[in-house]
Symmetry: C2
Subunit: 513 residues, 2 copies
């Protein structure tokens, strides 16, 4: 069974269930809001505060087969997931579904829990490191579900995944669970991905290492959404919370790509008063931001907002008055965290507000321009950011598919050839983001416009930029790399790539050793 | 059938249904979260904006028997409820349930809609004026349900009332429904009561007279909760939005009550570092605030927070550093609105966060002291703020029962005798707030402590204050007023007084003409 993207996706996947095939990026426009659970109300006689993990665990409705959730704002510095899982493993629970917004190398202990059948199912929007490797090797009992950042909000709101207990790392909290991410030694900024958890899980535990007197006076998530507050020594390692990725590339090829991208944006007509903009934290993307900043200042353009994961580069643009507001779902560096604390117009947003395709309107719908990366792209502009050139999971959509679908101009920036591997291929390993939502590929060797964007092709007909077809780019690359050998996989499906609306765009199969 | 408060409440009430009898203020500690509806998602191709009420109405799922909701932040200056209801009436719909957080004299047109069977059921936390009068006269087909402010959040979260369409007056909005109450010509401050509507109604319409470019950079309620944005010329009359009640009493008897109250608080042990405080906007309550302010400054006490409907007096205390934060569910005057806009620690809270008895912990649970009024009180400290001395509805709990239940010290302040009517009676017309949650009555003739508060009685055994029993106060009053004639009612139940947990404390019957 091939879906409309030409990917072989069965109608039913063991451990996942019946598949809704991807049928176009706007095929599903039904919003569903479904909740049905009871809980113990917190009266004026009750306390939520607990200082001992084990005592807290005694109070929770732990059981085999439960679903528990975590957010990833502490990134590769997160202690919370490992802390909680160690206690659950010690207590002998099995068959747990882990609903983690993303998985990082620091979550390596999960590999053992997968091997022992303690964790048998994982939902995540992004995963890298040993857990991703182990999943590709077939160590997880059921297929992992790789959703988008907006898709995670959707599956929780619709009740498709019912989380029994959410464990929420809280850089600052009072005893009643008024929490924020901008204060405390483990500050991480916006808590955007945690909102779905606290709004939809049946029981919610805030875990903090910075307990402040009631009331906490900066509140991103409030007390009505929290059942318990657990105080621990440390929720994370500050060195890992802020990752080291937010540097402009120094690679001349990357800078060339950024320069071409900025020129393309300038000529596209989207660089104008009131424009909105998003870029990732990759080196080329940041270089594009630097170029766009220059152009906006030259032309005295003031944009409406920048969105997404926020970096210091975007904060600088905001501070210089180039954007009226920032919509922040997660902070990538210390400057972003500082700004999230200090600037009233540095607005925190939930993952649903950011990117949910099936709510009453997300911020990505209002995006003019988004700059995204790619591991691979095929000639239909389908993009892979899920698996690497070895076929192993090393990423995932995150907000990739969400912003691509929402933005008026979605530009993929990439070196055409890197380490003798071409980004453009006849067939990519995994489809993460459907080509119909991707408008342009910019490489150092030329720019390809998606034929679906007739308006852009017309506009750039006489451009001085190196406009080429995607096939031409592929040929240029192949002349440098030769034809690549296809990767060999086992039949077994180890991950399901869910589109933002809940349909399935592709599956990832077990790698052949 | 008499309930534990001695009130005659049937087990079943026509037009209301099966009654859960009041059985103690902490009898129901089960939280329920229930939603199940679908909606049309808003994609990047859709617009929410509408500039014509009639065209908007064409898009809404209007039907006979629907439930529609409104908030009361525009108070007696509100245009929105009348505007919408006129259009619905014009279209001939019948049997509508109106879920309005409060009803004011400006909503007089509802009387005609009640008479015509257009509106057959009303839920409200407070009502005064012609609509309240008409309900007391039996003009509403089904009994009105008079809930508390926190109870309104509860009935929406549990799905006991499913609102089909919420119409939300929005002093400022962008085209995507990011709204706030602090900007614009119809600014009203916090939008606390609107949160339940937008979070739980199936369809939500924001109605604004101040459309700003996307994104609105001050957001109290965000775009994910709004289906449509309707722009109109004016949502309210600023003169009515801010009511004229927020003045300290000049009446010497009232000032005497306030003085005694402050002294009682001082000696009670609750006036201390970190204390929290709430007072209403009545003249005596404000006079108490002024006295408490003096005491806090004298003793160099810094409180944690003040909560509730916020007035300029409370804002002044906050600005002078007497409280670390304000929790604001609604603003009563212009100074409060200004502060809600300018001060980051002037925190807006939803009605659920404020006062819902059946959530994961409300702010009233954290209150130390609350100062409340009363129309009548019986010798069991049960309080009536629902009906007047003529038996006609002229108020309702609002946050009265909620704060009384949550606060450590609930003080009722009242003149003992006013216009030849005693506040203390053998039998009060209606029970709004159960006596077990009321600690003290302070009058100009003496202070009565609820016998349930043995600790307070002990503490004030040797006080220099005029401590009396409630029976003594009643006798003093009766010696001045004589015995009152009981009010005569018809049998028909015109309103059900719902306690915050959904049980019924009392019913209001039709007045005899």
């Amino acid at each position: 069974m091939k879906n409309i993207l030409g990917r072989e996706v069965p109608e039913f996947i063991e451990g996942y269930g019946k598949v809704t095939q991807y049928n176009g990026y706007l095929a599903n426009t039904t919003g569903v809001m479904k909740k049905d659970y009871t809980f113990k109300t917190v009266t004026h006689k009750d306390s939520k505060l607990e200082k001992d993990l084990s005592k807290l665990m005694d109070k929770l409705p732990l059981r085999d087969g439960m679903a528990i959730s975590f957010h990833h704002h502490l990134r590769n510095g997160d202690y919370v997931l490992n802390l909680v899982m160690a206690e659950i493993a010690k207590r002998g629970y099995k068959d747990i579904t882990l609903v983690a917004s993303s998985i990082f190398p620091c979550h390596k202990p999960l590999v053992e829990y997968m091997e022992k059948g303690i964790v048998t199912q994982i939902y995540a929007g992004y995963m890298s490191g040993p857990v991703a490797q182990a999943i590709s090797e077939g160590k997880l009992q059921k297929p992992a579900v790789m959703h988008t950042h907006g898709g995670r909000a959707r599956i929780m709101e619709t009740g498709e995944v019912e989380v029994d207990i959410a464990f929420v790392a809280a850089p600052t909290s009072d005893e009643y669970g008024n929490i924020n991410g901008v204060d405390g030694k483990s500050a991480c900024g916006s808590l955007g991905y945690a909102h779905s958890d606290v709004e939809n899980a049946k029981v919610v535990v805030a875990i903090t290492d910075n307990l402040v007197p009631f009331p906490n006076t900066t509140i991103e998530i409030n007390q009505t959404l929290i059942d318990y507050v657990l105080v621990v020594d440390a929720i994370g390692d500050p060195k890992g919370i802020v990752s080291g990725t937010t540097q402009i590339t120094k690679n001349p090829i990357g800078l060339k790509v950024a320069d071409l991208t900025a020129k393309f944006i300038e000529q596209s007509g989207y660089l104008k008063e009131g424009m909105s903009f998003q870029t990732g934290a990759g080196g080329i993307s940041l270089a594009v931001a630097a170029e766009v900043k220059k152009l906006m200042k030259e032309k005295e353009i003031v944009g409406s907002f920048a969105a997404g994961g926020i970096t210091g580069y975007i904060v600088d643009m905001f501070k210089e008055g180039l954007f009226k507001a920032l919509f922040d779902v997660q902070c990538f560096d210390l400057d972003a965290i500082k700004s999230a604390k200090e600037n009233a117009k540095h607005l925190k947003m939930s993952a649903s507000m950011y990117a949910n395709a099936n709510n009453k309107g997300s911020v990505v719908n209002k995006l003019d321009i988004v700059i995204l990366g790619a591991t691979e792209m095929d000639t239909n502009f389908n993009v892979n950011v899920t698996t690497g050139s070895d076929g192993v999971i090393m990423g995932g959509s995150g907000g990739h598919s969400d912003t691509a679908a929402g933005a008026k101009l979605c530009i993929i920036v990439s070196q055409l050839v890197n380490a003798r591997i071409s980004v453009v291929k006849d067939r990519i390993t995994t489809v993460t983001t459907p080509g119909e939502t991707v408008d342009v590929l910019v490489t150092e060797r030329g720019i390809a416009i998606n034929p679906l964007r007739k308006d852009l092709i017309e506009k750039f007909k006489n451009s001085n930029l190196p406009i080429k077809t995607i096939e031409e780019l592929k040929e240029i690359a192949e002349s440098m790399t030769g034809k690549e050998q296809p990767i060999k996989f086992e039949d077994r499906i180890v991950a399901v790539v869910q589109y933002r609306d809940g349909s399935v765009v592709d599956v990832v199969r077990q790698i052949k050793k």
